[in-house]
Symmetry: D2
Subunit: 286 residues, 4 copies
């Protein structure tokens, strides 16, 4: 069943649920799911509304214009998403195969509802995986000197392919502030540690040396500061003194891929609203 999803946030005030739900009710919509959250500290209200698309009785343009007019009176920030639009996702990789495999398998099996028009690697290592799944692979090596040109090539590829979401699936390079800004809220990175612990390079080695008893991974939106973007999902696994750095890395790869997959799925299903450094992630629900 196709659906229309509204993501809304605004300053909290009395009667919001009533007003918004009545707006849609009067247009004849069936509300499948309505999720809300009020940030009492910031006095901000957040809502995710899922409407049955079969009950849409006007053009999409008309719906958006009507809601825009309605929203202006409540100072709503909002976006609307139609489930019959198939998002296009670019995967950026370096040498580690596990996240790439995982996302491609989930995409192919229909768990991640999206297309993957291209994979970009700064090394040729993972081309064979792209081949297995018949996805075009672009090898764009990068050095500190060639970064601007490499990123320009990348930007063109993203544009040409009408990319909606960029996933850094263990892409061990920092994107420029300009590119991150251009795709604000549309670049998801996986960091192989439980942020904010062990930012930067070699987190498993850092974890080993600090002697932690659990290791983790963090999926977050990329922003201008490395490893500082809004966190979407995290998970951890228990370890003990016996694991070497290599074993931590291997165990960690299982955490990374599941955390990244959950974050990408939440994004594709329009369940995330970013609020400063925090994310509101609505549950899967109906």
């Amino acid at each position: 069943m196709n659906s229309i999803i509204f993501l809304i946030d605004c300053p909290d005030r009395k009667g919001l649920v009533s007003s918004i739900s009545t707006f849609f009710y009067e247009l004849g919509f069936n509300i499948i799911h309505c999720q809300q959250y009020t940030d009492v500290q910031r006095n901000q209200y957040f809502m995710r509304l899922k409407l049955d698309m079969r009950t849409l009785q006007m053009s999409r343009k008309e719906l958006e214009e009507k809601f825009s007019a309605f929203g202006a009176t409540y100072k709503l920030n909002w976006s609307v998403h139609y489930s019959d639009y198939v998002q296009k996702v670019a995967l950026l990789v370096t040498k580690a195969p596990h996240c790439l495999y995982d996302l491609l398998v989930r995409q192919q099996e229909g768990e991640l509802q999206c297309e993957v028009p291209l994979i970009i690697g700064n090394h040729p290592t993972l081309e064979h995986i792209a081949d297995k799944f018949r996805v075009p692979f672009y090898c764009l090596p990068v050095t500190p000197e060639t970064r601007p040109q490499q990123e320009e090539t990348m930007r063109k590829l993203l544009k040409q392919n009408h990319i909606d979401l960029v996933v850094l699936a263990r892409y061990m390079q920092v994107l420029s502030k300009e590119l991150v800004a251009e795709y604000a809220g549309r670049v998801i990175n996986i960091h192989h540690a439980f942020l904010p612990a062990f930012q930067g390079a070699s987190p498993y080695q850092q974890a080993y040396e600090r002697g932690v008893k659990m290791i983790g991974a963090t999926a977050h939106y990329a922003n201008a500061e490395l490893d500082e973007g809004p966190i979407i999902e995290q998970d951890v696994e228990r370890v003990n003194h016996e694991q070497t750095i290599e074993e931590l890395s291997r165990m960690g790869s299982d955490i990374e891929r599941i955390v990244l997959a959950r974050a990408v799925k939440a994004h594709l299903e329009h369940r995330i609203i970013v609020s400063g450094k925090r994310t509101i992630v609505f549950s899967t629900g109906v």
Copy 2:
């Protein structure tokens, strides 16, 4: 801040969110939190509404009458709860101290907002704990022959103390169907296994012999069938071959008390709606 909580369920239909929220909006209420769930398989709608009590502009009786009239047209099942009413909880125990200690500490520290007017034990073992917390302790020994009389004494004590909720905090006796029916939806039991695995007696021994790699505990509403009531909360802990039955039991006691505490807390906060053998447990939220 005091609040009024409505728990509602009814057959799903178009416009429910709008109608219900508008009902309260027009009475001048501020909705603090509105949580919903639609069981698409049974086509049943569930809602928990939390209202700011300061925005109540009539008597409680009047509110209930108005909502009753409104609800009749939608065939709503509903209950209303006022946060300034302090619920009274009876704790039933046998010999294991951990759940009793845990609930008393949480009650005393204000985490569980309730009163504990009495503890009933079928053994005198835990009286010293009741003494520590200055709660009256009634020792009501029971044998198969004396069960009816013992239960009659118990029922009187529950009545005299205006008990709202009975917690079987490792009370190793089965209550009669009559008593369970009298307190339907108001008796919470902790079973020391991950139900439906290991029903009945000696679950840790059963778990040891089956060689499971995780042990668990289950808090559920008591009903006529032993260990068959609607599950409120469960949790597990990883074990391996090294743990003896005694160690499983000790590790399990940590799971039991946290699971039972969460279930009691959810009940006291009116976050649970029972739906057949399933429970809707709304998250803590604001």
Copy 3:
């Protein structure tokens, strides 16, 4: 670094560590890792010894003869495994792709040190995955009437390919007692529930109807009784009332594959000793 692994169990008695470790020390071996466990209830002793193969100063046959003579005096059950022997693993599947993908990726990336000479499916559904990884796929459909012939074909394929381990990667068929007996301790199954809860068919539907708050998966050695074999590994994930049966199934697939992968890895690394209905699973360690 190659290694020699001894798995030993025997009735417990004084001096076992000393005797066994001295046996190997006097033959000039360097013991890399020595793991022990005593089952005090059954008075049984279990040991896993990992020796540096570079310190082997005789033929393998000679080592085995010497240890056999030594072991006879202590009534040791034992097996020896050489890490330079590459085990051959057959994967049996039906229609669910996630476990098959997962094992093939891990094998290809070197995490599971084994060969996969063939995949057997009773449906053609997953042949395309076998093709991706260039593994021969045999489609052996089965009905109640044709089971004996189908299994005979399967047995021949396993023999021809010198299969050491059979993995039922969501193979939704029961193997005959004869075949299970022939590969005793060498058939690993994944059951999509937290055994012993929800044995048999449709465990996610059972879980939904029972209203459990966590779902799980169990990897175990197959034996004559369905879902009754010794458990190797289990894991769970928290769920709530919101998940439909389909979502439980999807969430469960992530648990299934990680649980199955851990079990297969433990088996391939010779870290498991079966003891009645229980398994001793030694930790990864060095």
Copy 4:
């Protein structure tokens, strides 16, 4: 059954298991449990040996002299512990009651085998809990100016009571380097965050602001650097955007007490060897 526990570490070399186990075997000991670990990066060997005290056939002094002579040839660091010696534990607290309650209940119920001769608080808030369990409570308020005198009083109390282990059960003060040095490896602190994330003050507020999806707690040995000592145990709990700082704090208190209890138990059972910034924590076992 009483036991003798040896904790040993030394540079790794061939024949250590054989030599050490033979040493005890020849003295007539029954080894109940032998746990080992080799840190291959530092080439260091660690062992925990548990001997049946009933098989001790000489004086304790004689045993220690013999082992001392033996150990000198292998450059062993070692300590020996007799399970019939009841360790004395001092609890230091401020205002948060949950860890104090938890440890007292576990001590009283026999789960923590130790005595608690005194509780020291820098506020009088928790005296009523000490009263409940009839443990002497010393209120030693502290200001930056009076810290030296306060600590001197504390040191005297620890000495007078022959304290073996100091537990900072949410004692919100830093101990001086001198006191920490005097009780090196014998002061356990609980930090209410998943170290090394959120060091220092107000970790739950930090966690809220960073928008993490899990919160945790860390038990560690105190050393001269705040929150930098060797980690003994950690655990986490999943959270989401809905939890306020107050709720994070409450959920965290459940993690804190279980993490602290496990760390104290591991210490009392002589299952920990500190190795630089890392700890070897042997499993519970027999």
